[in-house]
Amino acid sequence: MPYSTFTTRSPRETSTSPSVEVALAPPNGDGSKFAANHDAADVLARAQAGDHQAFAELYSMHKRRIYSLCLRMVGNVAEAEDLTQEAFLQFHGKIDTFRGDSALSTWLHRLAINVVLMHLRKGRLQLDSLDELMEPTPDQRPGRSFGAPDIALSGAIDRLTLQRAIGDLPAGYRLVFVLHDIEGFEHNEIASLLDCSIGNSKSQLHKARLKLREFLRNHPRQEGRK
């Protein structure tokens, strides 16, 4: 089908639930959810058959989650938009390979993570692997905690400062922290995604949290107490 036959109208929001699952489920009393699932499955089937407008609808459904994921992982708006674009291009190219073994949102999520990881591999001084990315320079590592004063952070974490602190993390620490503590991946999944050991994933996560604690201790609240 030639490209010119497709509408070029920008897609609008077609769903308020960006994580609509596409696996067809029996209507267990939840008619609206079943209808949404059925609609999403229909949209996916049409997109897989080459319907460009259906692909535009999939973009509408998933763009926020994918963009937000990219933004959390790289911490930069322009990069996140480029990566979102690349993720949807890859999605378009691979849409035929989606067989519905998992939810489309999960599959797309993983695809986007791989796009970000590829980008980081290319961008970080042409590293051959994530090993160097995963091992920050000595001055980027968290300090030791022995003998440090008790600052009782609990319950007093400032969101803006924490966001800044996460943005400030060395890339390898941030990746594991975002994947585990924000995206909810397990260590074995992270190890598989990043091609590292489970122990390495646990260690990176711990160092990331220590580094964040260090940052929070050194930076007073920015929002002001409310």
Partner: protein, 82 residues
């Protein structure tokens, strides 16, 4: 509880923390924490950070989602994959 856990120094306990966090056990019951305020505070801080991070990033719209879509369409057309 074994003797080595009871006599653990802060350095030894903290060296084990990544594994203790990762195995899903209740670390708060660890013998070392019963007698070490420093490591108890550290653990509380790390747990608070992890918890705060979970709700930190709302799902956001791309700055210009329409322009982004136009770029995607254009790239798809350019690659001739449709």
């Amino acid at each position: 509880m074994n003797k080595s856990e009871n006599n653990m120094s802060c350095a030894e306990f903290q060296a084990q923390l990544p594994e203790l966090f990762g195995c899903g056990e209740v670390i708060g019951d660890h013998p070392h924490l019963q007698r070490c305020n420093l490591c108890r505070a550290l653990l509380a801080d790390l747990n608070a950070i992890a918890e705060a991070a979970r709700d930190l990033f709302p799902v956001k719209e791309p700055t210009d989602a329409d322009a982004l879509w136009e770029n995607i369409e254009s790239a798809i057309a350019h690659e001739g994959v449709v």
